[in-house]
């Protein structure tokens, strides 16, 4: 890979953003259908030999809606009656903050962090030992199990401990390749993409869960050397090139490639951009740049002039004429950023759980060093977390006003 040692250092760390949607369907649907079937006949409430396990569905749903995610899981484990219903019905939860999945004190221990209750839950699955995180979305984390010659990718969800395997990557890849996927791997629309620049060529690999092998698309890379991060939005894979010096776009339907101008943002104007995160946020593409010298993030939004073209060919033709705007606020959302991961969050109570991931750095120096660094990061993240909560509170107040 044509990159300096420094770049390799910066970009050999993986980072990802994650959203978690536990398999819950639209709540509204459940409520309306629930109302229609008000139980009048046969629901005699006079029998005191009643059993709590026979509570009507409507009532169980109403109770579940008033519980946090963790309590919902336990509630459903009480008896058959309480379990069956909850499966098929849309249920929301009280959780307002994203759950996070992080690496624990030892290399192979992971935990889930519940920010509402400020509790950690340990996750154990032998598949995760020595696996590396590539991406995360809707409660699913894409891992790679590294072997000497190829990378075996698999999805994992810490919430239900499920694993979905993917075919091995065709190419013998160097340490870092950018990865993203479109949606939950249990959805038929899920596609997984990886992008890398090797020998002045951009190689985009693509597959779906259940595929036997990856498909590859190769384009000339020009002068670009690195792909920082990629993100999927409206049928297009956006690729941040050379520390956000440019944004490349791969049209997943037409299988063609284009570099966007004007490029964001800082090349030559500011100091070093240490990290670039592309984030899909409610139909917008955000680029979060971490300026190392300032120890600050700057967030940009790809500005659309005409939303109606979003899914059309016209959109693809016009794609290079859009601007990047620096953004101070994202309406009703907060952006969770740290050096290794980012995600966004809507304030209004919704069904989604978000999931954030922090990664081990892949560097020489042995496990001890890695552990130490991991600890430092923990502390950083805690601070970061406090800041987010504070900011969130402020924004919430603004919303109320």
């Amino acid at each position: 890979m044509a990159s300096s040692g420094k770049k390799r250092k910066l970009f050999s760390r993986e980072r990802k953003r994650k959203r978690k949607r536990v398999t819950l369907r639209d709540n509204r649907e459940a409520i309306t259908s629930g109302k229609k079937e008000k139980k009048i006949e046969g629901q005699s409430s006079s029998s005191s030999s009643s059993s709590w396990s026979d509570l009507p569905e409507d009532i169980i749903c109403l109770i579940l809606n008033r519980l946090h995610y963790i309590d919902q899981i336990r509630f459903r484990a009480v008896c058959k009656g309480w379990r069956e219903l909850a499966d098929g019905r849309g249920v929301k939860s009280l959780d307002k903050l994203p759950w996070m999945m992080t690496i624990g004190d030892s290399i192979n221990s992971y935990y889930l962090f519940d920010p509402s209750e400020k509790r950690k839950y340990t996750i154990r699955n032998s598949m995760l030992n020595d696996a590396r995180v590539l991406a995360s979305k809707q409660g699913w984390v894409l891992f790679t199990e590294e072997t000497i010659t190829t990378d075996a990718l698999f999805f994992y969800t810490p919430f239900t401990d499920q694993i979905i395997r993917l075919p091995k990557l065709n190419i013998n890849l160097p340490t870092y390749y950018a990865t993203t996927f479109t949606t939950s791997p249990v959805s038929p629309n899920c596609e997984i993409f990886t992008a890398i620049i090797i020998d002045k060529k951009i190689i985009i690999s693509m597959c779906k869960p259940g595929d036997k092998r990856w498909k590859e698309f190769v384009f000339p890379a020009g002068a670009y050397e690195l792909i920082d991060d990629i993100e999927y939005l409206h049928g297009i894979i956006y690729c941040s090139l050379d520390h956000a010096a440019a944004i490349g776009a791969f049209n997943t339907r037409r299988k063609c490639w284009k570099v966007l101008h004007p490029a964001p943002l800082y090349r030559g104007r500011y100091m070093e951009i240490a990290w670039v995160d592309l984030i899909e946020c409610n139909g917008n593409l955000l680029a979060a740049l971490y300026i190392a010298d300032w120890k600050r993030w700057r967030v940009f939004r790809l500005h659309y002039t005409d939303y109606s073209h979003m899914m059309t060919d016209y959109y693809w033709l016009e794609i290079s004429h859009r601007d990047w705007l620096e953004t101070e606020k994202i309406d009703h959302k907060s952006l969770f950023l740290d050096h290794t991961a980012s995600t966004y969050r809507i304030f209004a109570p919704i069904n989604n759980y978000f999931l954030r991931f922090r990664f081990l750095e892949e560097e020489k120096g042995g496990k001890r060093k890695e552990r130490k660094r991991e600890k430092e990061k923990n502390e950083n993240e805690e601070e970061c977390e406090k800041e987010h909560i504070e900011r969130r509170r402020k924004m919430k107040e603004e919303v109320r006003k």
Partner: protein, 167 residues
């Protein structure tokens, strides 16, 4: 003079109630509107439970009537006092239900059957508060629920969300 209705519980006890109080129940309101409510209105609710239901409805009714009679002067303070009163009343009501879970259960079903959304919501919140932070076994004990999972099923549940059952 307020219109009164006679409600008959499943164990044949008669409750004389003002129309305004009982109209909070969408089910009964509809019966009245449809003209189906002549004479005694038979309900599939025990007298013990119905008494509780009416206790709730009267409290709610009390509150709305008072608000209507208020003029704006001193309303704020009054509202605050009232809120405190209501809270106190609701706490007492909750404590009684927590102590007698059979009544709570019957009341849940009755509020669903009579279509009393405010009461139903209040009770569901009460149950949610009771189960929050508790393990399945504690919840079973609290509500006297039998664990009807087979060992295999239980194992599968624990395997699926093992982390959530860590003490």
């Amino acid at each position: 003079m307020a219109i009164m209705y006679a409600l008959k519980s499943s164990d044949n006890e008669i409750f004389e109630v003002e129309q305004k109080v009982i109209e909070q129940s969408e089910t009964i309101k509809k019966m009245i509107e449809d003209g189906a409510a002549t004479g005694e209105i038979p309900l599939q609710v025990s007298s013990k439970t119905l008494a509780k239901v009416l206790e709730w409805c009267k409290q709610r009714q009390h509150k709305t009537v008072e608000n209507e009679n208020d003029d704006n002067k001193g309303k704020r303070k009054k509202e605050r006092d009232e809120d405190d009163d209501i809270k106190e009343w609701e706490n007492k009501f909750s404590d009684e239900l927590k102590a007698d879970k059979d009544v709570l259960f019957d009341l849940l079903l009755a509020s669903n059957y009579l279509d009393l959304p405010a009461l139903l919501s209040f009770l569901c919140q009460l149950v949610a508060d009771m189960v929050a932070g508790k393990m399945p076994e504690e919840i079973r004990r609290m509500f006297n629920i039998e664990n009807d999972f087979t060992p295999e099923e239980e194992k599968a549940i624990t395997a699926e969300h093992g982390w959530a059952f860590q003490p």
